[in-house]
Subunit: 196 residues, 2 copies
């Protein structure tokens, strides 16, 4: 079974090293890794064309994969990286299994309340931002569409605290997802790597 | 044709008013609006169950829709609302037409460079955040997966500046998408509302 490795670690200076670590771990759990860096990007004339070429490769890799393992650690704010969330939606839209983790244990509202713009509106009994927009209070790790798509599939959203400087480098959550995927497919009578 | 109306305006205090405006506009362009507030949420015992119930309704509405019109205006940071982005990925994964707008004209990198943590790394010739993570420089409005999924479908990502306090209330981008959707389907010989 082919596992697509989604996450913002592609933006790290040592992205290759982190992806290679994920690739090796994925193989060790019997899955075939499918990673954004697997195909080389063709030469393009403009920056915009390069962006389109990378996306076309990623969509091709996603369509070739059987499942996604998504790193949904909050990225430059209280929510996950939008690129990773797009990919999660893409898999769920196709009815494919999704596994996910965050290296932050707190819930969305707790993180929001730490921001200077958070105000509690006693009239509506909701926490609101500077524009008056409310924040969900469901105890979720992130937006309800994200938490719920995992719950609907019977998955655990693995929320594991790691030291802040390790949040995009640690492998704790990724390994938790690999273990969950392995036991999920074993319970269904599937061998992740039948041809291996 | 049924158009799913995705966007973070559901978090506004006057969400109902904004959604009703979008619903009326959608009908005026010949589409049948499908909006997150269309179905009432069943009673639940816990907050978590309520979150799951809302998501289940939204997924049901999404699956019943033929296209999505997504409000991708930056939300509490430099990128779009993750709930809306999840829904965009869901539609694109199902091969359905997607239309989108942002009420911010600048590109992702320009917005990032305004943040205090932005540093230019001369070695890698990239803008990086406090964790050393790079920011895409493709001239895109947001993450490349978002811009590119629209470009692949031949769409315009409508980037229209509005006054800051109007960014989640203005209808400029939404109307631009409705016009684009109308001409797209007319060109394909489809009447958006054949039964009307």
């Amino acid at each position: 079974m082919r596992a697509y490795l989604a996450g913002p670690e592609v933006f790290l200076p040592n992205a290759r090293e982190i992806l290679d670590c994920k690739i090796a771990l994925t193989r060790s759990y019997g899955f075939t890794p499918v990673s954004p860096g697997d195909l080389s990007v063709p030469e393009t004339e403009t920056r915009r064309q390069r962006g389109l070429a990378i996306s076309a490769l990623n969509e091709k890799l996603m369509s070739s994969a059987d499942l996604i393992i998504a790193n949904l650690t909050p990225f430059r704010g209280i929510s996950a990286d939008v690129g990773t969330v797009f990919e999660l939606g893409f898999f769920v839209g196709q009815g494919k299994p999704a596994f996910a983790y965050s290296h932050e244990a707190s819930d969305l509202l707790t993180r929001f309340r730490r921001s200077p713009e958070a105000v509690y509106d006693t009239d509506s009994r909701a926490w609101r931002d500077a524009l008056g927009m409310s924040v969900e209070d469901f105890g979720n790790a992130d937006n309800l569409m994200i938490d719920a798509c995992l719950a609907e599939q019977g998955r655990i959203f693995h929320r594991l605290a790691v030291p802040p400087e390790e949040r995009f480098r640690a492998m704790d959550g990724f390994i938790a997802c690999l273990k969950e995927a392995q036991s999920t497919f074993a319970a269904q009578g599937c061998d992740p790597a039948p041809a291996a």
